[in-house]
Each structure stands twice: as structure tokens, then as C-alpha cells.
């Protein structure tokens, strides 16, 4: 069905995407507003960007958030990959139902519950074994816990689409199980692992509620900082910060999408070539007849 045939669908799509994007564009637009009062236009200016770059508070929050996000993404990808492989490839083991429940529950669990329960765990642990102290460690652990579920789901759904006989073939050719993982499973999962890492990274950069619960004194992540400013009303420098973050993410996602679609196109072209070539190398006795 093309859009020409269905103007109704087309206008609904336009409306939907306008709803999704207009707030973001307005947010970016007002970041260039000279006026201190956000919705009142006072002329074009980049003063809020300049102020932003001079704010030490923001830079330290960005640094902390990036540090947590990178550690989280790395560990969550490793743990999530193992969980996804276990779910996709090991059909039966004890406690599989509980395991799959613990993987899908964090995806929908209200953040306040996760945050509260993890904080109470950390406090209990600190009482018993004197570790961890609240701050960067606890935020990272909390983020890994919910990010690994996302990675596991991505890895699992990718692996379900991968022919299991590829791994069996490696075993059959004499590869030990751990070699199969390194030589076959991980390379085949590479796109899913990359996507999982990026998702875990952004989830961590984005989290406010859980970090607020488990953070300790002095550990202010970027969302926590933004939140405390937003609570005081509209702030043009927040608009500037938002613009930068959104642009970085948008460019990143678009570039990733473009690379993936180019690879896909190249692949399709290769496959067509191969099918066309088979007649040149007389796979078939057709030409001799």
C-alpha cells in the first residue's frame, strides 16, 4: 500500500511524528534564545552554550556519568551476553523459569521499586560486610542489573535467528565449547553486542530515579544535576545541554543505521552476483544441452 492510495494513513503518520519531534525541536530552538525566560524570544545567542562550557559542576557530572555508563555498558554486555546465550541455547536447566523471569522483569519494573530495593540491599550489605559504600560503585552495580536484562533480550533474539548448526558444525570439526563461543558465537553476535553495549550506555546516561536512590553524598550524575535544575523551573542552559546531548545521540544512531544499511546493500549485491555467476562456471549442465 503506498501513501498516495491512503492519504488517511499518511496524515496520521505525519501527525504522529510531529507529536514525537516538535517538542524536541522547540527545546533545541530555545537553547539559542538570548532571553533568560525560556518561552520569550529575545534574539539569537549562544550565551547559554558558553555558560555551559564554563560550568565546572556540569563537567564533573558529565565525567561521572560517562565513567559509570562505560563501565556499566561493558559489564552489562558481558553478563547480558552470557544470559542471552544461556536462554537461547541451553534448553533445559534447573531454575530456567526463574532465570527468564529475572531477565524480563527489569524491563518493565517501575524504577522506584528497583531503586528502593537496591538501596536497601546495599545498606544491608554494608552493615554485614562493610561494602559497598554508596556512590559510583552502587550506581554502576544498579545500572548493570537492569541493563544486562536489555542486553540479554537483544542477544537472545539475535541468537534465535542464528542457525544452531553453525555452532554444532564447529563442535563437529573439533572445537571445544569455549572455542566455539570465541570463534563462532561471538562473531555472529557482534552486531547484537554492539547494539547492546550502546543501549546499556544510553540507559545508564539516562537514569535518574535509580541513581537518586542508590547514590551517596557527592556523587551527582548528569541526570541528577539536570533534575535539580529543572525542579527550579525552565533553564536555558539546560536547553543548551539537551541540544548537545540529543545531537550527539541522533548523529550516532544515524551513522550506525547508515553503516548497517550499507553493509546490508553490499551483501545483497554480492549474493546476486554469486547467483548470476553460477552459470559462468557451469555448475549446471544446462549450457551443454
Amino acid at each position: 500500500m503506498s501513501f498516495k492510495k491512503s492519504p488517511f494513513t499518511f496524515s496520521l503518520l505525519c501527525f504522529g511524528f510531529a507529536f514525537l519531534y516538535i517538542p524536541i525541536f522547540l527545546l533545541m530552538f530555545y537553547s539559542f534564545n538570548y532571553s533568560k525566560v525560556v518561552p520569550v524570544w529575545g534574539g539569537f545567542s549562544v550565551r547559554w552554550y558558553v555558560e555551559l562550557f564554563q560550568s565546572e559542576e556540569i563537567w564533573s557530572a558529565v565525567g561521572l556519568s560517562l565513567q559509570i555508563a562505560i563501565m556499566n555498558a561493558t559489564f552489562a554486555t558481558m553478563l547480558g551476553a552470557l544470559a542471552g546465550i544461556a536462554m537461547a541455547r541451553i534448553k533445559r536447566f534447573r531454575g530456567r523459569t526463574l532465570f527468564s523471569g529475572m531477565i524480563s522483569a527489569p524491563l518493565v519494573m517501575p524504577e522506584v521499586i528497583t531503586g528502593l530495593s537496591l538501596l536497601l540491599l546495599f545498606i544491608t550489605m554494608a552493615e554485614i560486610i562493610g561494602w559497598p559504600s554508596r556512590g559510583i560503585t552502587t550506581i554502576t552495580i544498579a545500572h548493570i542489573t537492569f541493563s544486562l536484562a536489555y542486553v540479554a533480550v537483544i542477544v537472545q533474539s539475535r541468537l534465535v535467528g542464528v542457525d544452531e548448526s553453525l555452532e554444532e558444525a564447529a563442535l563437529d570439526l573439533g572445537a571445544k565449547p569455549y572455542r566455539v563461543l570465541i570463534d563462532v558465537t561471538v562473531p555472529l553476535l557482534a552486531p547484537a553486542l554492539a547494539a547492546g553495549w550502546l543501549l546499556a550506555f544510553t540507559l545508564s546516561l539516562d537514569d535518574l530515579v535509580i541513581a537518586s536512590f542508590v547514590s551517596g553524598p557527592g556523587a551527582n550524575t548528569l541526570p541528577m544535576l539536570i533534575y535539580s535544575r529543572v525542579k527550579l523551573g525552565l533553564k536555558p542552559d539546560v536547553n543548551a545541554l539537551a541540544t548537545i546531548i540529543i545531537l550527539i545521540v541522533a548523529i550516532g544512531v544515524c551513522v550506525a543505521g547508515w553503516i548497517l544499511s550499507r553493509q546490508e546493500k553490499q551483501r545483497m549485491a554480492d549474493m546476486q552476483m554469486a547467483e548470476a555467476e553460477k552459470y559462468d562456471f557451469s555448475d549446471e549442465p544446462q549450457s551443454s544441452r
Binding site: M1, T9, L107, S157
Partner: protein
């Protein structure tokens, strides 16, 4: 020879055990056990101490262990209208938002699923893109739109439809808008997945047998995309019920939602036992939808 072979086989099994055990143990410690701690504290008593709750287990002089379960917190939740109303209000807001999300999301998902392959990829990317950008900032963007001096009011006054700004920020309406806006991608993606799987010749067959477009939609499209509808609705409903940021920023003090109450009981009032009891009740409310979602998720990801 025999023992060598067996030790090799065991190493393969050990390897499998390793793959399962590492994430399993992590999730047990950091996901499952915390809930039991919450449950335990919800039966404790608020005391002025650090940590601010009474011990559940006490050693008597005789050496026996006593367990004191205090149901006061739950009784308090039940008797205080504030909590009951907040729970009901949260459910009402999340159910309404879920329905709104479905109404907005279905046509979009349908339009994307029926677009040309290239357009499909781009449109899908455009749906996912906001999901990757900061949730907090997307909520923040609506403050600027909905405020009394915000873009929408300014625009409506400018074109002369209204004279006085309409109060939108800090109302239920703002919360609906915020939830629909931020959770829309979660609704669209599962819907898209199930609409795309739909065989278009079924529509043609229905039309061929004399069914009008609306009847076809009601009797063919909706039933066959039900898995997507259920998954999308749960993905919106469950987290929205416990939502904190949206009611806090867009609802202000006027909108009561349970996530906000939990957050303030814990952080402002320091009443951990009550906060835990609030969390336990919320979890009980959500456990059935969560189990339905888990079933769907397991079925979906195992490729059935």
C-alpha cells in the same frame, strides 16, 4: 581412555554451568534478594535510628529466636485515604494513558508496517531515535510547551483563540501527555512487529468474501495483531503505574501518583517501613501484568 573422555565431557558441562551461573548469581543477588529485603522491612516498625526500622528477628534471653511481624504499615496504607486514593489515581492515569498510547500508536505502527522498504527503515529509525535520547529531557521539553507562559498558550493567544492562558502544566492532562509522549515508542515497536507479520493477502481474502474495510479491520487485523497490542500495552502500563519523573515534573503537587509518594516517603520522610510497604503493594498490583508480559516475552524471544 575412559576417564579422560569423561573428564572432557565434564569440562563441557562445567562450561555450560559457567555460562548460566555468572548472570544467574548476579541477578539473584542484585535483583531477587533485594525484593525480600523490601518485604522484610515492610513488616518492621519505624523507629528513630539508623537504619530507621525495627529488627524483625530478636534473640530472647532463652536463646530462642523470635520473629515479630508488624502489619501496622499495611493497615495504615488501607486506612489512610491518601494512599488508597493514590493507588487508584495511579491506576486510572496509567490505564487511560495506555489506551491513549494505543490509539495514537496503532495507526503509526500500521502506517510504518505498510510503507515501502526504504521508508520503513527510516520511519522505524525515527521512532527509535527519541527512545535513545534522554527521557528526562523529553519530559522537560513539555514544561516549555505546556506552561502558562509556554509555547502552546503563547501561540493560541497570538492567533486569538483564547485571551487567558489555559492551565495545562501541573494537571492530569500534562501527565497524560507526558506518559503518551515518552512511552509511545514502547507501544509502536511491538505493534509494528506484529502488524508487519500480518499476511496482506488475508485482507484481500476478506474483501473478496465481501467484508468492508472496517469489518476486516475489526475481525481480521485486530485479532491477529493482539500479541502486539498486549505486549505494547503492558510495556506502557506497568512502568507508567510506578512512574515518578513525569508526575513529579509535569503534575507538580496536584497529581498524586504512587511512585511520587514512595519517593517522598523514603527520601523526605525517611519512613522506610512505609515506603517498603508501598512498594510491596505496588508490586502485588503489578505482578499479574508482569507475569503475562514475561510469558509473552519468553514466547517471542524463543522465536515461536
Amino acid at each position: 581412555m575412559r576417564s579422560r573422555i569423561q573428564s572432557k565431557l565434564q569440562s563441557a558441562e562445567l562450561w555450560q554451568a559457567f555460562i548460566i551461573a555468572v548472570p544467574y548469581i548476579w541477578l539473584l543477588i542484585f535483583f531477587l534478594i533485594p525484593f525480600f529485603i523490601v518485604l522484610k522491612i515492610s513488616f518492621a516498625e519505624y523507629i528513630l535510628a539508623s537504619p530507621p526500622f525495627s529488627k524483625l528477628f530478636r534473640l530472647a534471653d532463652t536463646g530462642a529466636m523470635y520473629m515479630t511481624l508488624i502489619f501496622d504499615n499495611f493497615v495504615y496504607l488501607w486506612e489512610d485515604d491518601l494512599y488508597l486514593n493514590t493507588y487508584l489515581n495511579s491506576l486510572q492515569i496509567s490505564i487511560t494513558s495506555t489506551i491513549l498510547c494505543l490509539l495514537v500508536g496503532y495507526p503509526i505502527a500500521y502506517g510504518i508496517a505498510r510503507a515501502t522498504p526504504t521508508a520503513k527503515k527510516i520511519l522505524l529509525l525515527m521512532v527509535i531515535l527519541p527512545f535513545w535520547t534522554s527521557f528526562l529531557l523529553r519530559v522537560y521539553a513539555w514544561i516549555g510547551l505546556l506552561a502558562d507562559q509556554g509555547t502552546i498558550n503563547n501561540f493560541l493567544i497570538w492567533i486569538g483563540i483564547i485571551d487567558e492562558p489555559i492551565k495545562m502544566l501541573y494537571t492530569d492532562f500534562a501527565v497524560y501527555v507526558g506518559i503518551v509522549y515518552t512511552y509511545l515508542p514502547f507501544m509502536i515497536l511491538p505493534l509494528f512487529a506484529s502488524i508487519e507479520k500480518l499476511d496482506m493477502t488475508l485482507h484481500e481474502a476478506a474483501a473478496d468474501l465481501g467484508s468492508r474495510p472496517f469489518t476486516t479491520f475489526r475481525t481480521i487485523t485486530i485479532p491477529l495483531t493482539m500479541p502486539g497490542i498486549i505486549a505494547g500495552s503492558l510495556l506502557v502500563f506497568i512502568p507508567a503505574t510506578g512512574e515518578f519523573v513525569i508526575p513529579d515534573l509535569l503534575g507538580g503537587g496536584n497529581v498524586l501518583m504512587i511512585g511520587k509518594v514512595l519517593y517522598s516517603e523514603f527520601n523526605s520522610n525517611q519512613d522506610w517501613p512505609i515506603a517498603s510497604a508501598v512498594a510491596v503493594v505496588l508490586l502485588i498490583l503489578l505482578v499479574v501484568p508482569m507475569m503475562i508480559y514475561q510469558k509473552y516475552q519468553a514466547k517471542e524471544s524463543s522465536g515461536e
